[in-house]
């Protein structure tokens, strides 16, 4: 891939490889993400998108290759260290701290992920809850939330860690048209605040509204790159998506 030379990449992946048994989910992935960029990631089910996020954030160990974050090799660092250095992710299948309240979920992430004293995080956590539409649920146990609120919590909790690089894994799935518009606004606003965003999403119009650039992952390789509207017209991509309804 080919980032413009003027901005140093905040994230650079070099030769990432990963296989689960016989399934190759990453077959030498090279990718650079510029600071401040919003990158979309497309790819059919099972393409290895979530695994890629796992390798970037440290929950999945690559078989080979390196992950560079802000110019430093973080491949050997724990997920916790990477988070404190400024990476945050949402999980495709929401992973709330079920026994804590929604507010406490954020305070935990804010305090440890951003390295702030607990009290110092309260205002910011409250503001994030407000912005993510979770204020009414602030004092409810996260384990009791319905799916939509769980997804909101994923995003809110990731924001609470004060990321420089925010990795979103299918946060728009299942949202109504208007909910999706609210989400798009929110991600744009986050990005305007200086956060680099990498967003895996099947909901193409949401991605197109935010991403400057989209890459397509298939069979463990990046098979296409470009603006969202260009990428879907690449023959290889059309083929991959043949028969798969893409909400465009």
């Amino acid at each position: 891939m080919n980032p413009s030379a003027d901005a140093a990449p905040i994230l650079a992946l070099r030769g990432l490889r990963k296989r689960f048994g016989a399934v190759v989910v990453a077959d030498g992935i090279d990718l650079a993400v510029r600071a401040g960029e919003a990158l979309g990631v497309l790819g059919p089910n099972g393409a290895g998108k979530t695994t890629l996020f796992g390798m970037v954030t440290g929950t999945v160990r690559p078989d080979a290759g390196t992950v560079m974050f802000e110019g430093r090799d973080v491949t050997a660092l724990s997920p916790a260290r990477r988070c404190r250095q400024g990476m945050a992710r949402s999980f495709q299948v929401p992973q709330p701290f079920a026994g804590l309240t929604v507010f406490e979920n954020l305070v935990a992430a804010a305090s440890f992920g951003a390295g702030e004293g607990e009290r110092a995080t309260y205002d910011r956590c409250a503001a994030i809850l407000e912005r993510c539409g979770l204020m009414a649920r602030a004092n409810e146990r996260a384990g009791g939330l319905r799916l939509l609120d769980r997804k909101r919590l994923e995003l809110a909790r990731a924001l609470a860690t004060r990321p420089k690089l925010l990795l979103l894994d299918e946060v728009a799935g299942g949202l109504t048209e208007s909910e999706c518009a609210v989400l798009v606004d929110l991600v744009r606003e986050v990005r305007a605040g200086g956060v680099t965003v990498v967003w895996i999403e099947h909901v193409l119009h949401a991605l197109a509204a935010v991403a400057d650039r989209v890459v397509v992952l298939h069979g463990g390789r990046l098979i296409a790159e470009g603006r969202a509207d260009e990428v879907v017209r690449v023959p290889a991509v059309a083929e991959v998506y043949m028969g798969i309804p893409v909400d465009a």
Partner: protein, 367 residues
């Protein structure tokens, strides 16, 4: 972060219930501290036992209920503490009272290699692993001929006399020590849970992968709580056997006495709440004191109670009270209070700052 929104977020830790419950609890503590004036030796002995179990059950709850470390090897540290105290007194001539902090220190130290061995294991395997470690401790103690090997030993009269002058004074002192140690352990647990590390523990318990991804050092946090809890259990063990004046490997490392009963107490009281083990202890001793003349039927009643609680109230007795009636003694909650509605036509608070990225100069990985 400069431009804060209009009103700062209000977070309250207590509830109306805890504003009633906490003073009541403190009142109870004062009454218990005065027990030497309102009860006899028998009563003081019984209460001393109650405090030991309340402390052990609270520590077990900290591990299992708050940190996801379901151990059945707590007796390893109870026994270790007891043996440290007896060794210090019999082999090195140390005043047995100093044996209690020494036991805490060595128990905490011993927890490090035990954690190194058992933390690789998950769930049921971790539980079994801790039990195996405790059995190894017991077998080692049985080889300890200086303290009577497998049959154990007693504290000689001269050592007993060095605790305090006269039997009444000694029993009073041990009573207050038992109460003081239980309060100390409870206070330490409360402070831990009130801090952000309490949130980290719960986060780890609920979802390890997510906790790591939110910047929480899972292994380090777990190790720290295991070390602290083990040191606490060792101090309690030292004090229990200082009251008994006699030690043996089977008694000191008894899985029944120091883990099975402790789990029973935590389960009936309610795991994952600080109040649970305290209520469970009270309930257990109530059952034991009223039913012990029933002989083996007593154990069957205990079993039936445990099963009934697990089926009907899996969150324990306190869990039911807390869920249904909102009861709470200790102000551990973090309730975000709704902001006061803006006066007049004040503009909505700006929230943009909350979503902004970290400022890149002021933030590094400093830990």
């Amino acid at each position: 972060m400069s431009a804060a929104p209009a009103a700062p977020a209000q977070v309250s830790h207590g509830t109306r219930a805890s504003r009633i419950g906490l003073p009541l609890f403190l009142l109870l503590l004062v009454a218990l501290a005065a027990a030497p004036w309102w009860t006899d030796r028998q009563g003081m002995r019984l209460l001393g036992e109650v405090y030991a179990y309340a402390a052990l059950a609270s520590l077990w709850n900290l591990l299992a209920g708050y940190s996801g470390l379901v151990t059945v090897g707590q007796q390893a540290f109870v026994g270790l503490g007891a043996y440290v105290l007896f060794s210090a007194a019999l082999l090195f001539g140390v005043n047995p009272l100093w044996g209690i902090p020494a036991a805490g220190l060595l128990g905490a130290l011993a927890a490090v290699p035990v954690a190194a061995l058992t933390f690789r294991l998950r769930g049921a395997y971790f539980a079994i692993g801790t039990w195996v470690v405790a059995e190894v401790f017991r077998l080692l103690a049985a080889q300890f001929t200086a303290l009577g090997g497998g049959s154990g030993t007693s504290l000689p009269a001269s050592v007993v006399a060095s605790i305090a002058s006269g039997r009444a004074a000694r029993e009073q002192l041990l009573y207050w020590l038992a109460l003081g140690l239980a309060v100390l352990i409870l206070a330490a647990i409360l402070l831990l849970l009130r801090s952000r590390h309490g949130l980290a523990l719960a986060a780890i318990r609920d979802n390890e992968v997510a906790a790591r991804s939110c910047g929480i050092e899972v292994d380090r946090t777990r190790l720290a709580v295991f070390v602290v809890a083990s040191g606490g259990a060792a101090m309690v063990g030292a004090l229990i056997f200082l009251q008994k004046l006699r030690i043996s490997p089977d008694a000191a490392f008894s899985v029944n006495d120091w883990t099975a009963l402790v789990i029973f107490i935590a389960v009936i009281g309610g795991i994952g709440r600080v109040e649970g083990p305290l209520i469970g202890t009270a309930l257990f001793f109530l059952l034991r004191e009223t039913l012990s003349q029933l002989g083996s039927l007593y154990l069957m009643v205990l079993g039936a109670v445990a099963i009934a609680v697990m089926l009907l109230a899996p969150r324990g007795l306190w869990g039911v009270l807390a869920d249904r009636l909102g009861w709470q003694v200790f102000p551990l909650a973090r309730r975000l209070e709704p902001r006061a509605p803006p006066l007049g036509t004040a503009p909505p608070p700006t929230t943009r700052h909350a979503l902004a990225g970290a400022d890149h100069e002021n933030r590094g990985d400093t830990r």
